[in-house]
Each structure stands twice: as structure tokens, then as C-alpha cells.
Symmetry: C2
Subunit: 461 residues, 2 copies
Amino acid sequence: MDKNYTAELEQIVNPENVITSFEERLTYSYDSTRLEYMPDVVVKVKTAEQISRIMKLANEYTIPVTPRGAATGLSGGCLAVEGGISLVMVAMNKIIDINPIDLLATVEAGVITENVSKAVEHLKLFYPPDPGSMKSSTIGGNIAENAGGLRGLKYGVTKDYINSIEVVLPTGEIVNMGTNTVKAVTGYNLVDLMCGSEGTLGIITKATLGLLPVPADRASILAFFKNMTDAAKTVRDIVAEGVITATLEIVDKVTINAIEDFLKIGLDRTVGAMLLIEVDGQKGAVEIEAGIVMKVCRSNSALSVRQAKSAQERDELWSARRAALSSLSRIRPSTILEDATVPRSRIVELVEAVNEIAKKYGMLIGTFGHAGDGNLHPTILTDLRIPEQSKKTERVIEEIFKVTIALGGTLSGEHGIGITKAQYLKLEISKPVYDLMKKIKNSFDPNNILNPGKMKCTWDA
Amino acid sequence: MDKNYTAELEQIVNPENVITSFEERLTYSYDSTRLEYMPDVVVKVKTAEQISRIMKLANEYTIPVTPRGAATGLSGGCLAVEGGISLVMVAMNKIIDINPIDLLATVEAGVITENVSKAVEHLKLFYPPDPGSMKSSTIGGNIAENAGGLRGLKYGVTKDYINSIEVVLPTGEIVNMGTNTVKAVTGYNLVDLMCGSEGTLGIITKATLGLLPVPADRASILAFFKNMTDAAKTVRDIVAEGVITATLEIVDKVTINAIEDFLKIGLDRTVGAMLLIEVDGQKGAVEIEAGIVMKVCRSNSALSVRQAKSAQERDELWSARRAALSSLSRIRPSTILEDATVPRSRIVELVEAVNEIAKKYGMLIGTFGHAGDGNLHPTILTDLRIPEQSKKTERVIEEIFKVTIALGGTLSGEHGIGITKAQYLKLEISKPVYDLMKKIKNSFDPNNILNPGKMKCTWDA
């Protein structure tokens, strides 16, 4: 640590926002991956101007800077893997403007995702992206990772709701990208390039987000199946019937049992799979679509199908689904949540392949996820403290990725590459495209100081 | 023209696909802007491999290459402004694959936009982007310009339906970008960067497009108003009522009269504005939403409101709207179609400002467009052969752009920058962002041979 450099940081943000003690830095050394990288200094910022000055200083001293929101990420995006400054954005949490005519909300990057919807619910509006972490994740982190969620099939993902952003470039300039119009084609589409760039191209400080009217009605349907194959076929058939559901969640036997162990809500342990489906829209439309969904479930040999009769019953069903990950994580010391995503037509094959891999390695894998998007979360339950288990886990992950790509899928549907999947990047991205990515990175960040060490991939062959 | 270079082109695509005669090249020298730039040679291609070899050759000789689809663009995107090769893509018109489960269609870049929907209508699916040129424009051109259309508010624009693309990079590599999954966050989002890059970053040869189920029902509503202000207020109020209409088109008095002169369908010439609104969805939902729309029209002093009673009547209403531009273009020798786009809440102000500008310069301007998107097409009717009129037109355009930007809008909602708006780019894009665009261009195209001379902007101050 360069003393001058710390002193200069203290001039920018005041001494109480510059943290150098080991104990305090430790709390900023990990995220939801449980990996640990220690930053040299933690700086809490409040304004884009402060960040601009910090970036200029960081370029001068060639110090890595890693922006950090709520640290709920699952690929290591906010970890300071090369040390330097951990730039903590959570105090930038103002909701600046709400415009119900343009269906827009302008917020600072540190605003918690769910708070956007809460701030507009009295206007009967909502912000559609709903990552699992929405109660604690920040909008800035959501944009950096292009966060997904349960409602992807009908409502899309974060990038579909970002109209314009304020960004501090790695070189320190504060710029605006995008416009707050429904359509805009002026210049290159840099907003969508920033979205999902994992904090490597710029620091998002403010965003104008798109909102939608809250649907007048919704219905939740719960269906149980003998096995995952029947459930996955049902998913395909619902879409083929022309129904675009708000959510279409699948849960396998391992996960059903884990949820029942945890919540004791009377789930049938003998079934092989569960679908939890929500349709929303105008009143009449919801009943029509719910009817089609239930018919398709039955024609795919559902063991039982029922529609939630009340808001309370509906909320209970969704609490069960939302408890999937926490229920699974109670079973073994280590929980590795994967993010394999395939075209919807291939989910039967993905589910069967994951089961085969689990059997081959004698590994317990619970699978749940957003089946309507083809976005599954095979969750490996293991103990990484045991070297043999750790090695086996790595092989299981690699096999899951390989089958995912072979099925026309992607390494990551919504969690990002970061450090956890960087080594697999070359399975999906060709060398010329990767070289373009590096040149783009260099165009934005010539000294490679902003969130270095992420999305790095090696080209062995 | 270098003889060797032509001979090498003939080796790549066969002599009959290399056009050098003046007369034939002339037909490839203009697009829908009516501007003219003569290419040195026209090359008709069939495969990505041919394009790859041409790009390698072009780099070797430093020859500009400008991809060209159906030339329906309104900003000069396909014009060979620096000469060189005009690369004609229209023979690459195969529909390669249709996947009704994944809601995807894979097509070559030269496929005509409307043909995508035609190819899937038997499956009750459609491709939502519907630019005015859809009967003749190509998918490749649509992606390059990020084409919009009438259904933007509810269904978005071209970029919302591009899952993956095959691209020949300016340096000749054939690469794939994106994946055919609903969610994908692996690596930088290059697909959305390519979309709207106006053919300057790569040549799109193939695309996998998203489809949607055809709505079960739809209703069209026609409403007349005393003036544009009442109509614009109605637009705002419909959205504020939570109804996201499929289309929400506005037409002013000048345009209504032009349509009536042309089609003689009995439109009332005394009214000041017309709204043409379509809602779609499940059967019950459509009636509910149509009812809300009609109520809002009436509460904003509509002179008359009616719902089309039959498919035939509906088609007649839409023919009238689609005839707006051709009707206006009959009035004066020159028709300049602008593309001013503002947040929806500001359309009243934009409409009033355009009227003021028309009055100030004594210029006839007909305004129509996609009011739900805030995307208006003020259409200047003039005679550019008269120098005084031409100068005045330029001043009118600049004033319209300035007021659009001042209202938080954008230079272009859906037509692009190209050469027609390049000089105004600095009104909207700041210098650091423009510098980033140039660096990105250089990353893709180090010799600046792909579609050079587009989106160029000068920084006077």
C-alpha cells in the first residue's frame, strides 16, 4: 500500500470511507461464491464525481479497482482478484425520479432491486427483472451481470429494461449512454454492451429503468409428475400451445425432498418432478391461459394439477420454490449452483444428461430452475474440503458444461463468467471473438485497471 | 479500378456476379434516401465463405466494402460513399430452419423481413419487428440498422429478437455471436453491439430470430380529434391506464388530407388529428383493453371513436395509415422523412414545436408516426432543386433535431445515422463516447474498409 495513494483517497471521500484494517477488509473479501480475495483498501463512494477522481488516481498509480454492490453474485464479479481498491457502491441508493407516463424510473446504482418495484407499486407499475437475489442485490450489479430471474420467458432480463445509464469510464470520464425513448438507434449500442460486461468496461452510477403496468390478474398452477422427462415435455407443449407464461419453474425429486425436509409443507415425496407455473394478464385472458396450461399438464400424464385458490395459497407455493436453494444447501457442506442453459427444446436431454452424470460420479445433484427459459440450476451437493470430492466436483461441472454446449446452450444463462467459469469460456467463444472482446476491453481501459482478471480464458490448442 | 483485383473477385464469385459496367452500377448507386454514390464494382455474393475471401482481398488492396440488402434504408447505410465494392446480399435468401418449440427461425441475411412471418404463419407464429419497409427490406439490413416499426411499444424492435448471428468480420474471419437460448450472459454482448452498427463492424450473413405466438384476437380502433394536442394527450393517458397497445399511431391534418386526396376513402378533412390503435391478446383481454382505449379517447374530447367491425374494415384502416408517406410524397417534388423520437410524455411538446417550426419557415410539414413510442415522422414537403428551399429545409431539420434533443429525445428512433444525420451526432453523443465508438470500430476494422464514412461526426467546439 502506497501511503500517498491512501491519503489521496481520503481527500476524495473523507477518511471514514477509506478502510484499511485487516478485519474490516475481510468482510469485503468474498461474495456469494464463497471465494476469497483480499482488497488492499476498501473505499465507500457516494457520487460519480468521487469515482471519477478515484479512477484518475488509479490510472496514475496503476491500481486495480473492483466495483462492489451487494456481493450476491455467483461468478465472482465483485471480487478484487488482483487486490487494489474494492469500490463499494451501496451508499449510492437514491431513487431519483419516477415517471409513470414514460414508464421509467431513474435510480442510483446502489439501489436494491426489489426497492424499485416497491417504489412504483402505488402507481400499479413494476420493474420486471426478478433475480433470486432481488431482496438484496443492487441495480448496478444487476446491470453489470445482466441478471435474469424467474420471469425471463415472458418479460426478458435486465438488459431489456435499461434505457440509459450514467457511467464512469475506466479513464475517469463521466458519460451518458442511451436515451430514454422506446426506440433509439443513434450511434453504437453501448448500453447493451455495458450490460453484462461484468464491471470490466465502466462503473455504472445511475440508470433509467423501464417499468410495466402490473398485470390485472394472475394465476399459479402446481403440477406433479412421475419424472422430470414428463415435466420437461409439458414445458415444451405449453409454449407450443401459444401460451407465454410469466414463470415456468421446474423442481426435481432431490430438491422436492430437500424443500419438504426444510419447510414441512406436505409435498409428496414420491413424485419425480414438480412444475410451478404462473400466467398473468387481463382478467379473462388469465383464466383462458390457466385452462390451457392445466390441460397440457394432464395430457402429459401429470399425477396432479391444481390452481392456487387464493393469494395466500399462491404465496405459499412460491415460498416453496424460492426455498429450493437454501433447502438444498442444508444437505452437504458445499453447494455448487450451476447455471446451464439450453434452447427450450433440449431441456429433456439436459435433465437426462445431468442425471447420468450424477450417477456416473455418485454425486448428489438437485436440479431446479426456469424451465421456460431452458435455464436450469443443477446444484451439486458435495464437500469441497475433501480433496477427492473437490476433484470429482470439478469433473462433474466440466461434463455438465460440455453437454450444455453440445445441446446448443450456453455456459451461463444469468450468473456470468467472472472467475468461476472463465476457464470454460473457450468451449463457447471462438478465438477471433475472444480477441475482439480483449480489444474492446483495451479500448475502454487501456491500463487494465478496472476489475482485472475476469472473463479470462486460455487458448491451449 | 485495379484489373487484378477484379479478376480475383471473378475467381471468388464467378464473372457473372462481378458488375463493372456504368449502367448496371448506377442501379446500385442509390437507396431510399435518393442520395447517390457510385461503387467501383458491384459483387453479388451467395455464401459467407465468398464474403470472407472478398474481405481478405479488400484488406490486401485497401478497398472499401459496403454491404447492401434491399436498399430501403433512410439514412444512407448501404451507399458506397467512398467507392469500392458494393456487396449485394439479396441472393442469400434461404430460410434455413424453423423451430416452433424454441420459437426460433434461422435465416440468411438476404431474406425479406415479411417472408419470415409468412414462413411461420401456418404454425400460428410471427416475427414481431415490422418496419414500414417489411415487404422489401432484408433481415440483414434490419439488424444492421436495428429497424423499428409500428409495434415497438408492446413488441420492441429488431434487437429484441436476435438470438445469434453469423458474421464475417472486416478482417475476414467467419464467427458466431450469441446463443439460441432465452438467457445468455457468456462474454460481452456483441450481438446487440452489432445490431444497429449500420454495417460498420461486420457483415451479418445469418441470424437466428425470435418468434412469438400470433395473438388469439385483436381489435383496431379509429379516433378523430380536434387537434394534435388532444390526440397526444390520449396517447399518454392510454399508457397511464396500464394498457400497452400493439400499435398506437398518430396522423396529423396535413397527412389526413394527403391520404384522402390519394385514396378517396371518405376521411373527414375538418379534423385535426387521427389515432389508429390496435390491441391484441387473448379473446377476453382484447375486449377489455379496447373498452379502456375507447373510454380514454372520449375523455380526451375525441370527435368520434369507432372499433373496426370486421377484418376487412380493419385492413382498410391500416392501408390508410400505411399510405401516409406515399400520399405525402405526391404533394411536392421532395419528401424528407424525419425520425424524431422523444419520451412519450413529451410528444405534445414535440408536435407543437414542429408546428411552430413549420410556421416560422413557411414550410409544409406532415406529421405521423408511432406515438406510443414517442417516435414521430415529421415529413418535410419541399423542392430541393430550388437552392433557397434546400437551405431552408436544412435549417428546419436542424431545428427539429435540436428541439428533439432538448426534450430528452434522440436523433433517430429507427432510421439510423448513416450519412444523413452524421453531422448532428454531436448534439447527442459526447466526445468521450464518440471516441469509444471510434476505438471499437478500429478494434473490428483496423484498415477502416468496411462501410467507411458512416456515423462520422465533427467536433467543432
